[in-house]
Symmetry: D2
Amino acid sequence: MPLQIGLIGTGRIGRIHAETIALHLDEACLSTVTDVQLASAQQCAARFNVSRVACDAQALVRDDNVQAVAICSSTDTHARLIIDAARAGKHIFCEKPIALDLASIDSALNAVEKAGVKLVVGFNRRYHPNFRRIKELVHTGELGQPHLIRITSRDSAPPPIAYVKVSGGIFLDMAIHDFDMARYVVGSEVVEVFATGSALIDPAFAAAGDVDTAVVVMHHENGAMTVIDNSRQAVYGYDQRLEVFGSLGVAKCENSFPDSVVVTNADRAISQKPYFAFLDIYRQTYVDEMRAFVDCIQKDLPPPVSGLDGWIPLVIGLAATRSLREGRAVKLSEIG
Amino acid sequence: MPLQIGLIGTGRIGRIHAETIALHLDEACLSTVTDVQLASAQQCAARFNVSRVACDAQALVRDDNVQAVAICSSTDTHARLIIDAARAGKHIFCEKPIALDLASIDSALNAVEKAGVKLVVGFNRRYHPNFRRIKELVHTGELGQPHLIRITSRDSAPPPIAYVKVSGGIFLDMAIHDFDMARYVVGSEVVEVFATGSALIDPAFAAAGDVDTAVVVMHHENGAMTVIDNSRQAVYGYDQRLEVFGSLGVAKCENSFPDSVVVTNADRAISQKPYFAFLDIYRQTYVDEMRAFVDCIQKDLPPPVSGLDGWIPLVIGLAATRSLREGRAVKLSEIG
Amino acid sequence: MPLQIGLIGTGRIGRIHAETIALHLDEACLSTVTDVQLASAQQCAARFNVSRVACDAQALVRDDNVQAVAICSSTDTHARLIIDAARAGKHIFCEKPIALDLASIDSALNAVEKAGVKLVVGFNRRYHPNFRRIKELVHTGELGQPHLIRITSRDSAPPPIAYVKVSGGIFLDMAIHDFDMARYVVGSEVVEVFATGSALIDPAFAAAGDVDTAVVVMHHENGAMTVIDNSRQAVYGYDQRLEVFGSLGVAKCENSFPDSVVVTNADRAISQKPYFAFLDIYRQTYVDEMRAFVDCIQKDLPPPVSGLDGWIPLVIGLAATRSLREGRAVKLSEIG
Amino acid sequence: MPLQIGLIGTGRIGRIHAETIALHLDEACLSTVTDVQLASAQQCAARFNVSRVACDAQALVRDDNVQAVAICSSTDTHARLIIDAARAGKHIFCEKPIALDLASIDSALNAVEKAGVKLVVGFNRRYHPNFRRIKELVHTGELGQPHLIRITSRDSAPPPIAYVKVSGGIFLDMAIHDFDMARYVVGSEVVEVFATGSALIDPAFAAAGDVDTAVVVMHHENGAMTVIDNSRQAVYGYDQRLEVFGSLGVAKCENSFPDSVVVTNADRAISQKPYFAFLDIYRQTYVDEMRAFVDCIQKDLPPPVSGLDGWIPLVIGLAATRSLREGRAVKLSEIG
């Protein structure tokens, strides 16, 4: 019988997961949805033939028809909902980040552990074929010992400044994906972080106490170093590239493009810029991560992205934030 | 109100169109399906929540709930079904080719014209972003006067020999897509064809009176020449590339690849081979062509691929077949 | 002791060979030069520290200090000079083509054979690393049985019409390089040729009885087919690409570019067009071919490009010319 | 009359410059050479038809026939020779680095200034077409305000450990090229440096007090940040790439390859690794830099790479070395 999933939060990312569960996964079904704006939940239910709209998240979590929940509401609600869902014995998919403070994450992870339910965190980029393949190349030793990892991660357009003010800053709301990626690809924990940055795109970032352009250098336990460069605005599109340099070779990947046409004329060769919207690049990853979530429940597998995988990037983000302020390398052991 | 479409033939391509209509087009709905194997039709109906399964194509064509039909049955049934559907006043989407003889196509097109319904032929490759963009570059004059078009069109695996024996041969069952592409991209009719070929992959092709490797050279009315090379078997994957060389420049496109990772080691650089399955490359084109079909009905637009567009590639294919036999250039005016 | 080479003809290509012999080959030395315009020969001698300027080609050929001659004068003088040099016991490097008629080539080759000297013909493109590597891939069987060879060969700018009138036409003055390349790469002789073309760039080509845009399709003895497309004018630069498709895979190469910079902005990605001048692409091939000439003398090796290699492309060119006129495939056995 | 150049030091780099001056520059001539190993100087003189071999550098510097000197001897002799040559009124080309301590450079630059001669420092990479073009794109504003510069600079093989012990370490002997490149491309001075690294290739580097893998992050006056990653050993070849990300777009360049052949078979696509030897990549830059040196003298232009351009990278290198040791960002103003 298909897994009955209840979805909390029908905003942009929630609707993506709704579509996946409703249309793309034979082994799961979307039984209930809810949202703080009930009209949004009703619209989503109508669009995907969902029979029930819960009046609120608590009702959904207690619903006996729901076997697993997908938490897609705002970040500040994640930890509380994880705890409630865990106590109700539901398996949990939760969008990243779990929380912006370590204590909240600790509480959530404890509840999950006590309840013995599965918790999967939504670091969807891990499912992109480029990154998955490079991870595999490191894992199988084809690149030898990893020495240097270069991650370029630039958004196509900056978020609203209102968001920046509450998001925890560039390291917690944006680079956190890259911290996860570095751990995922290298397969070795980060021990030290140096971060620096500037507000080069818009002084409003500086006014909000943040930077919009950043560089992070990290040392891993196995000796490898990761270098991340972030920008809030790459005018040419979403720029997500990764390179691993090891003792036996180097692996790198490119962005995705709407078409592969190259026009060469008397002046130059012209081709496409990368996709602008993250969905054009990552749509399939959302299908794959939801499938992995369902699989881990139905086949009793370890979570593909665990609670710990949600916890550590926050520690790195906090270390990076401190490093930015203090102009020095910060050890992870200094945090928390 | 969404367009009510009835689908005839629930084989591989039929199911692709069923999924598109059922899941991807808000402005259409799949009201009825049928197939000579009713079990197949029932399975398809169950998968996509289709309420009615017609007992046969005639019943479907006469069904008052059906406004348009999508003909995905075997080629030998196309012309007859077009005529029946046209007489029943239904708009028609028909998979290519309409028929393997010109007389049948003529009858079908006459019926369509008399009935005043829309007929759209399924040359799906026209909707691929690469080819669409190159067509546009020619159309807008960005490449100047087109001089040379190079089309590489190689299948990843050969069809069963049983199919080859009845398909009309490589020029009618395979190169016909490329003949359409040449007309589409150049925007000028073909006037002369030279074709040659060999059975290099499997002597069974020669035994079946066919070749498995072919080259076709065509002259267009506007002076441009198109060169097509075909192979029944490219072991590295589906190989579909196109290049237009004109007085102001050249445009070309590449295949699609599962990922963009490049590994460079002490020996060489290694990257992905192209996709092997045509669906990995063309899935979205089926959605776009069905949307264009629905659009042309609902907005009363000219068919994106007309009946004439189904007729001419057959003429070219027959001319190519004759050229192969006679070792000389054959004018299209010699055919039919 | 270095090989004493006398150079006949100090025009553009002659000066290229002069520079190679004078500056780049330790095992050879440029002992004498001559030209119908003695001033040109003197200039060349001064530039490269050549001690002797012969008053004419006959004097140079008879010069006891000369062990080998490099014939870089106009095509109509080649056969006569080969005969004279052979009779004088000199080894011979001769620019392509040896002659524009088969009888002249026959005489020249006979003289060479009788004298027992080495004759090397100047098909320099064989020495380009791209083509050399693809040849090797075919030769070692890495691509399996070759099925289709695609050669794109487009000049960046058309020659003067005056030249076209005496050159023998596009197949003898331009495609002849590609005929050689097809034989070289495939390693199997051509048996049949179909050629077609148009004057699309400039009606003056038609007035001169020639075409400026051409397509040639050839069958090789081993079953492979070669497709060549030629244009007298690619506004974006010198376009020389080759692809071999075989039963085990495909190999292709790209043009050369002045730099590899790609700029991506909010509109598109922009990179370099290919080099415009043939020397930017082929300079090193001239060094390598002259070194191969010297080597084949000093180490008594077979000529890297033999007299027969000079003879056959002319036969193919004549067959192509006839095919263009008659609109049919022409067998090589019909020529000569 | 051609500029009379005397060359000091006929080791590897000296012979490269000797060849350039002797064979490639019409406007200059190699009048005298010398080396601490006179036999080496004599060999070089013989190879390039140089008439005079000076018994030592002092004799060469005092030689009235010499108008300019090219200093290619070991680093520890540079500053002294610059001073001597300047006092003798000779223009000076000096290989990088000028010295490993700031005081020596100061003395040398003072002598040059007092004498009013030209001094050009040998940062040859500036002349590579890739980097020159990217510099120009920044300079003309085509990329907008530069935000992030990424430099990858990895040697194909590590130097002998004996060299590492006296070279000043990875930041002074290797990254110094990249420090120059960052200044050159961005066009704005560096104000702060953070450096980190590890010995991952060979523990002998650690034993010599050095690292073999390093990351440097720099802030420029104009707000841009540069990230450099260095490795002593990229097994796949010499890896020199650069990317500039700005407010209006991004520019990046690739390595150079021996050929552009791509073979695709049933398993994968295979292409060339980059060149292994720095000369294959940079040969032409040595010609261009020597031409620029001659030009700046003959046309009285400002030095293309000035004494200051030799001084600042050393300051950056010293700051990087301190940062590595202290685990914090170091301001350039802390040095010297």
